[in-house]
């Protein structure tokens, strides 16, 4: 069960969410991405309360996007996968073409434009998922262990693309990762979760060099904590 008293996500930062398995990290991401409502409490986005359904929620959803650990690609071409969100938002055809081609170029997949997306490797699939997210120029991007199934070369590519997205568009990045070194490399702020509770939140430097909670320190040092 996830239980968070208060959590504030500031615009334009990269957040790394770490913690042992079952700590509620992915559940948090689903709630932040408005895929599931919290059972208690309130959620605000850009100062506006998130209601249960309706156009307001759809408008909020369209300002954010999520990349899953195992991305689900549609059974169609890479191009059609990447342009999906633009179609959903009613972009004009020429804008869709232009933006999609730019996104494919950014992730280095232009040569696969017409290939069926499901025929690509895990690393390429994750890049398609990122392109699909980037092309929307979201205010917030949520990443649920985006590199856990990738080899080191593809991990580096995905991290580079994510950083570029953040630098170019000022996108707020919220990333769940089991790789604490990745969190240290990429994040401005770290959130440590344990048994459904937010134990500690702070700058990356503070969390890694001077954690306030023993459990945070133990986790970062690679000790098993229960």
């Amino acid at each position: 069960m996830l239980s968070v008293d208060k959590l504030v996500i500031e615009k334009g930062k990269i957040y790394g969410i770490i913690g042992p398995s079952g700590a509620g990290k992915s559940t948090l991401l689903r709630i932040l991405n408005l895929l599931e409502p919290p059972s208690h409490g309130s959620l605000f986005f850009n100062g506006m309360p998130v209601t249960k359904a309706g156009k307001q929620v759809l408008d909020m959803r369209r300002k954010m996007t999520m990349v899953f650990q195992r991305p689900i690609l549609f059974d169609t071409s890479v191009y059609n996968n990447v342009k999906y969100g633009l179609r959903a938002r009613g972009y004009a055809k020429k804008d869709i073409t232009r933006l999609t081609n730019i996104a494919l170029d950014e992730v280095g997949l232009t040569e696969f434009t017409n290939r069926n997306a499901r025929s690509l490797s895990g690393g390429e699939a994750q890049r398609i998922a990122l392109a699909r997210a980037m092309v929307l120029e979201p205010e917030v991007i949520l990443l649920d262990e985006p590199t856990s199934n990738l080899d080191p070369a593809n991990v580096a590519i995905v991290e580079k693309i994510t950083k570029r997205l953040h630098e170019k568009q000022g996108t707020t990045v919220i990333m769940v990762t089991h790789n604490i070194f990745q969190a240290q490399r990429m994040a401005d702020e770290i959130l440590f979760f344990f048994k459904g509770k937010l134990i500690e939140q702070g700058s990356t430097d503070k969390i890694f060099n001077n954690p306030q909670d023993d459990r945070t320190g133990a986790f970062i040092n690679g000790e098993m904590i229960y």
């Binding site: 991405n33 895929l35 759809l58 959803r61 369209r62 954010m64 996007t65 999520m66 899953f68 991305p71 689900i72 549609f74 059974d75 999906y84 969100g85 959903a88 938002r89 499901r118 699909r132 929307l136």
Partner: protein, 232 residues
């Protein structure tokens, strides 16, 4: 045994020689079954898709009913349609009994549960994996639904093919409501029954071979589609 070989040889001659009566029976069979499956698909696919996107708890009883009806004996379907269309039935005035329309109706009743049930499973499978992705990409409710159905299209096609396979080979329903009238409601399956009873084995065998070829084509198609579903 010699009789069987002779029968097979005669049957081959009838097929190759494009016997008119044989062809008329085959075309009527295909016409009736195609019309039935098309109608069943128009009802079953949206219904199956709707149920597949509901939480399974809320539609459990309906699912059980559909699964039961998937095994509906053709003679029972035929009996129900017969009673409805007979002179004393509520639809008697329409005078549809012993017409191809009655046969189409009976086969539609047989095909709907199969197409609905298989579409439901296909959509439910896709719903889980596709919904979250489509929603996070900003799709509206309608676009999410359309995306799920599109992603399930191969499995839905397999459902329609399975429905066709069921109805083209059934005899009970069409016998009861069609009456096996020569030149009017005689289809492959009812003709095989009649010709066998008459001892006209060549004709029966000829129709049987064609029915087998159709069944083979259907199964091959189903196998190919299901292979594509697995690979995706």
């Amino acid at each position: 045994m010699t009789e069987i070989w002779a029968g097979l040889l005669q049957a081959a001659k009838l097929i190759v020689g494009l016997d008119r009566e044989l062809l008329a029976i085959v075309f009527l069979s295909l016409k009736v079954s195609t019309a039935a499956v098309t109608t069943a698909a128009l009802i079953g696919i949206p219904l199956g898709a709707f149920l597949g996107m509901r939480p399974s708890v809320s539609v459990r009883w309906l699912e059980k009913l559909i699964n039961t009806l998937m095994g509906l004996p053709p003679v029972v379907a035929g009996l129900v349609i017969y009673l409805l269309l007979s002179n004393k039935g509520p639809l008697g005035p329409m005078e549809l009994l012993f017409t191809p329309m009655a046969m189409i109706t009976a086969q539609t009743v047989l095909a709907i549960p199969i197409i609905t049930g298989l579409t439901l499973v296909a959509v439910r499978d896709k719903h889980k994996e596709i919904r979250d992705t489509a929603v996070t990409l900003g799709a509206s409710q309608q676009m999410v639904i359309w995306t799920i159905i599109r992603e399930a299209k191969r499995a839905i096609m397999a459902a329609v093919v399975a429905g066709f396979g069921r109805v083209v080979a059934e005899v009970g329903a069409v016998m009861m409501v069609g009456g096996n009238i020569q030149g009017n409601t005689r289809v492959m399956t009812t003709a095989i029954v009649l010709e066998t009873r008459k001892g006209n084995f060549e004709f029966a065998l000829g129709l049987g071979i064609i029915l087998l070829i159709i069944a083979f084509i259907i199964n091959s198609l189903l196998y190919k589609i299901q292979g594509e579903v697995r690979n995706h």
